[in-house]
Amino acid sequence: MRIILIVLVSFSFSFLSNCKKEKNKDSDLILYYLIFNYLNSNSSATSCAITGIPTDPLFANQWHLLNDGTTTGAVSGEDIKASSAWNAGCKGNGVNIVTVDDGMDVAHEDLRTNYDSSLNINFAGFSDSLFYNYNSCSTTGAGCHGTSVSGIMSARDSNDIGVTGVAPRSKIGARNVLVNSTDSNASRAMSESVTKVWVSNNSWGAADDTGRLAASGSLWQSGITSGFSSGRNAKGSIFFWAAGNGGTLLQSSNTGGIVSAGKAPRDNSNHDGQANYHRAFAVAAVGNDGKRATYSEEGANLLVSAPSQGTSGVAITTTDVSSTGGYNRTGAATNYSNMNYTNTFNGTSAASPVAAGIGALILERNNNLTSRDVRVILARGSRKNDASDSDWVTNGAGLSFNHKYGFGTVDASLALPLAQNWSLLGPEVVTNFLTGGLTNTNIPNNNQTGALNTLTVSNSGIGKIEFVEVTLTVATGGTDDAGDLYVELISPAGTKAKLAVPRICTVSGSINYCNDFIAWTFGATTFMDESANGTWQFRVADVCNKTTPGSTSTTYVCDATSRFSGDGSSYTFTTSRNTANAAHTLSSWSVRIRGRAN
């Protein structure tokens, strides 16, 4: 369409120039240049046209937007550089966001201006006036979650009240799937009426602190896949997903003696079949010091990190269910006297909408981007936070990746310029699930080498990877434990994705078996922009020394030297389970690679 316009303008200009009685070539050329540039720009005429730093009364408390280092434990500059976007005029104008959560206080004083009911799906069957669990909020704070999530993204700016969102001129709606989280509703929340949905935030998912694998339903998978490709007029809606809050390492101090030495992992974001799905952008949490929040789950599936409550305890300021509902129910001295706002919102629940707000700004900057474009922009245009952390690696394409942080903290000053001058990606190329070699299937107990196999990929047509899926089946004996296993995939370029690390699983706080890897699919962003062709290596190793049947006093050591450094490479724990040691058997593994030609 733009090409046609350019031709028409060029022709018109030429025609008019010849018709004019007096010719002024210089001004004609300047005008022609301006029109030509406008037609060739990637931005819409109305995008990024509202400048200004917010004047909202609580903006100064929103360190995640602008961190001046004055809050407890803060490091100045550890924020998302929102002002960079706002000074460029990008505030989310024209962008539609949905909060998929437990609802939203649609009448909230700082949300109602941006509220767009046409974006809603109400799974409760009640009228919009009961769109959130007001009574539950009053009692326990439960049911208010979506309101606080929404404010992070879309609270109106510069209206003399409250806070500002990352994208304060975006439109916001709600899909209260948590009211009735069936597979059907979860799928509909992703796929229904998505023509208007640009950004979807999802700060929900499988329960944390179990260590166990939680699969996603196939209908939900189909729903998000549909939204990712068909939403936003076939450019794709973008789905941000909370990475998970079960990342706190178990130690003697917090496990009632289960772990007697070292630090044991429990949850990993790659155990969550939604957060690790190839259409979800998984977001981890960093504190106001730019470092991993202790609860934030690691994973090879992480895309980016974003601010939330970290070690310092300083949380996120955002909207709260109106009046006495929500998290701020008393206006106590530790919170705001205005109970329509709270300073306690935290978790990857808070981090994800921060990143989603950046996603909205990116799309305002360039509304021609597809959902795949946004993923690559976020990977290339995030900030390497916590630079001294030893887990940063440089992948084969020169991108920095960390299993704690993905490609780093979202940063508007990096992402938006990239978006503005972006050349759209070519069509997606997807391999079949390629069957991995099974030369070595025996996974001996307490052996770091484990079963190492290879897969040679040739003529894939993928010069630049965007996402890799690995499906794994390991036969684990009835009294052995899949939690003993370490699983890694190494690309032809030598980049290592740690898909699973040895961990402890618990049920109601008591140690228990981890569930087996039966056709479990991992996700990895680690290899972004690398070539798919070449020989891949895949290792599954049992790294725990359960050499004899146990008793209630037997201790075991899991030596995870390959896991990561910094937090200690091994941990010792006791278990009341009798575990007869047996080797596992690698039954099958396969890899599906998604990317593009170049």
Binding site: L130, N133, N135, A142, S184, G205, R212, S222, S229
Partner: protein, 216 residues
Amino acid sequence: MKYEIKTQFKSWKKINSKSILTMIAVLLSACISKSTYSQDVLPETLFYYEGNQKIFLEVDNSMIAEFGASLNVGGKNIKSSVVNADASAQLIRSHGQVNLWKTNGKGGSIGISKSLNESDNKGYSPVFRTIKGATNLALPGNIIVELDTTMTEKQAEVFFGAKGLRILRKHSLDGRNIYEVETPAGAASLNIANSLHGQTGVISSTPNWWRDVTAK
């Protein structure tokens, strides 16, 4: 003119007989669906399909899910049929319209949910998990069936109607033929979904699981 009328009458007759058959099938399904399918949970039927993958289940006979609960539940003094069935039942937590109860009542959650589904307007389900899985699963009713794309919606109606079932909605996902089919809450949904697996024209048949997810 006469020819036109005659032709139109023949066409009307043709269309109408098909519609009548469909209507009969749909009407019958409303009558017989509740009583035809078993609410029993048998050890040999403790599985479901995701596509072609057979996934084995375990049932937690001490937990029951109640669907259609009030959003105003505050955790105390709840009037619930679960409490009527088991006075010692304890509310574990509420998720919007869903209550999870702990029960030691007679028959466990399988027996209680079966009984309540026969007598109550709300839906009740035992709680399931995949083997060593973490996520509580329950059956609020309905199944998700993907049919071959060559089947029209009318043919789908007849297909389901013949089994005493009716379509609740079509999930329009990238040209696929996915239907949400009405079934009762509880184990009947699992049994009905499994009964359709492998039938001609059925690509997949899965219960519409409720999953115990949480805000992060």
